[in-house]
């Protein structure tokens, strides 16, 4: 049963990341390949706060989200200066930089060996240790994220973001600030990624840089491609489908080293196949 709940919790955490990536890449059209870096900062900060300063879990996650709001604004700012293709390169650089920090700052992150012993969340005298218990928290977090996403997409803010994706110049000609809208979207994406990080660190109780590297960022993009861009349903289904894959591979009796390689192979094939044959993903729109 833990096996099942672990899958649910991880998928729900990745839904928050899917919302974050979809908002930035799918909706605004800022092609970021460094969302895992922001996710990582949220995870490490929450771990630090609860381990070193005994900050309560919810406060730690909130603070991590706030830091990631600022951080995500900072890392997406270059997209306002350099256009499309060039931003991907910039964003790539940001991701590499983050990985270098996560791996080498042994004092803060435990370096490549990782950071063990992140305590399970305590809320109102209750400890959420078992995956089935944690699932309650993760479901709550995912629900809040989905509601927020749904609300902005049906509000004029969502309409403004869609318009910006189509034609920034036309938006400016209608008296709207493109800069403000993009910064707001980046802030929201940062909040999603930061809180996902906090949940992730507390759930696994062990984090290391491999969860927040370039592969992880590309995995987040794969979720959006497979799930579908710009829709809530797409952001939810992508993580559930992709995270089912390692679970299924684990059920088949093959060595774990082979399974890991097979997983990468299948993710790669899925990415290519969807881009070529179903660019709108399972339940979304064309990226």
């Amino acid at each position: 049963m833990d096996f099942f709940y672990t899958y649910i919790v991880l998928a729900e955490i990745y839904v928050l990341l899917g919302l974050s990536t979809n908002l930035l890449v799918g909706i605004v059209g800022i092609f970021s390949v460094s969302q895992a870096a922001v996710f990582g900062v949220g995870a490490y900060l929450t771990a630090f706060l609860v381990m070193q300063t005994s900050t309560p879990f919810l406060v730690a996650v909130l603070l991590s989200s706030i830091l990631c709001i600022g951080l995500n604004i900072l890392v997406t700012l270059p997209s306002l200066r350099v256009s499309g293709d060039y931003f991907v390169v910039t964003s790539f650089g940001i991701q590499l930089l983050a990985t270098a920090v996560f791996t080498n700052w042994t004092g803060g992150t435990g370096g490549a060996n990782g950071l063990p012993g992140v305590p399970a969340p305590w809320i109102a005298g209750h400890e959420f240790v078992e995956p089935s218990e944690f699932a309650v928290l993760a479901t709550g977090g995912m629900a809040l994220g989905c509601i927020a996403f749904w609300l902005i997409m049906r509000a004029p803010f969502g309409a403004l973001l869609r318009a910006i994706r189509e034609d920034e110049l036309a938006v400016a000609a209608l008296g709207k600030s493109v800069l403000r809208a993009k910064v707001s979207a980046a802030a929201l994406a940062g909040a999603f990624a930061g809180s996902a990080g906090g949940l992730y660190a507390s759930f696994l109780s062990f984090i290391d840089p491999s969860s927040f590297d370039l592969d992880a960022s590309i995995f987040l993009l794969t979720m959006v491609v497979v799930g579908g861009a710009r829709t809530l349903a797409g952001s939810v289904i992508g993580p559930f489908v992709l995270l089912a894959l390692p679970q299924i591979l684990a059920l088949i009796d093959i060595p774990s080293s082979v399974a890991a390689a097979a997983r990468q192979l299948i993710y790669g094939l899925l990415l290519i196949a969807f881009m070529l044959f179903r660019p709108q993903g399972l339940l979304g729109e064309k990226l």
């Binding site: 927020a148 049906r154 509000a155 803010f157 403004l160 869609r162 000609a173 008296g175 709207k176 809208a181």
Partner: protein
Amino acid sequence: MSAYLQVEGLNKSFGGLQALRDCSFTVAQGRITCLVGPNGAGKTTIFNAITGFLVPDTGHVTFQGISLDGRTSQQIVRHGIARTFQNLRLFVDLTARANVLAGMQDHVGEEPFTAIFRPFHTARALAAKQDAAMAVLAHVGLAAQADMLVRNLSYGEQKLLCIARILATGAELLLLDEPTSGLSGAALSDVMALLRRLQAEGKTLLVVEHNTRVVQQIADDVLFLHQGHLIAQGAPADIIADPKLAEIYFGGAI
């Protein structure tokens, strides 16, 4: 007395090419002023300079006595000037209604905080704006197309929607870049009728127009631009009758 819109001594060079040279003119309130001139004369560049899309090398733009120098395109819309684009630039994957809504100002929930934390307030305000957007669409004759994707509208409908979208901003002075180009027959007369109607409602129009018959029928004043310089200004009949201008206009085209 200052003019409604006053453009003074605009110069703009793109590398070696001087697109505007000491270009000055005025536009009177409540009138339809047509800006004419051969291809490459600098008509669109003037629009870009007035609306903050490019900064002229020298020169000033004054609207209702207020200097627009150094203002951003957003601020200029706030002052009551809006422009269309020669190549439309509609949001083609959105509906006609969404395009008009995008033009409307002061939406509640156009930033995430209000959208998330005051959802009912946002929804109520949006419902009210929907009605206003429908009214704008009905005004230009596109009520039936409100929920169609723009990419599925006819070219004539798209041209009307461009005007609807800037009308939605509430602007008083409308700069229309070739609103009739590519149109004929009923679609052409629809746009011309709309322009007259807007004038009757008190809007001021500055219109880039190539079709001399259209100019003759709708213009109160004509500005003739040649190589970035205003070389003539007057009533449409006088400008069109001038053989020197006809030579420049048609000589260059052939």
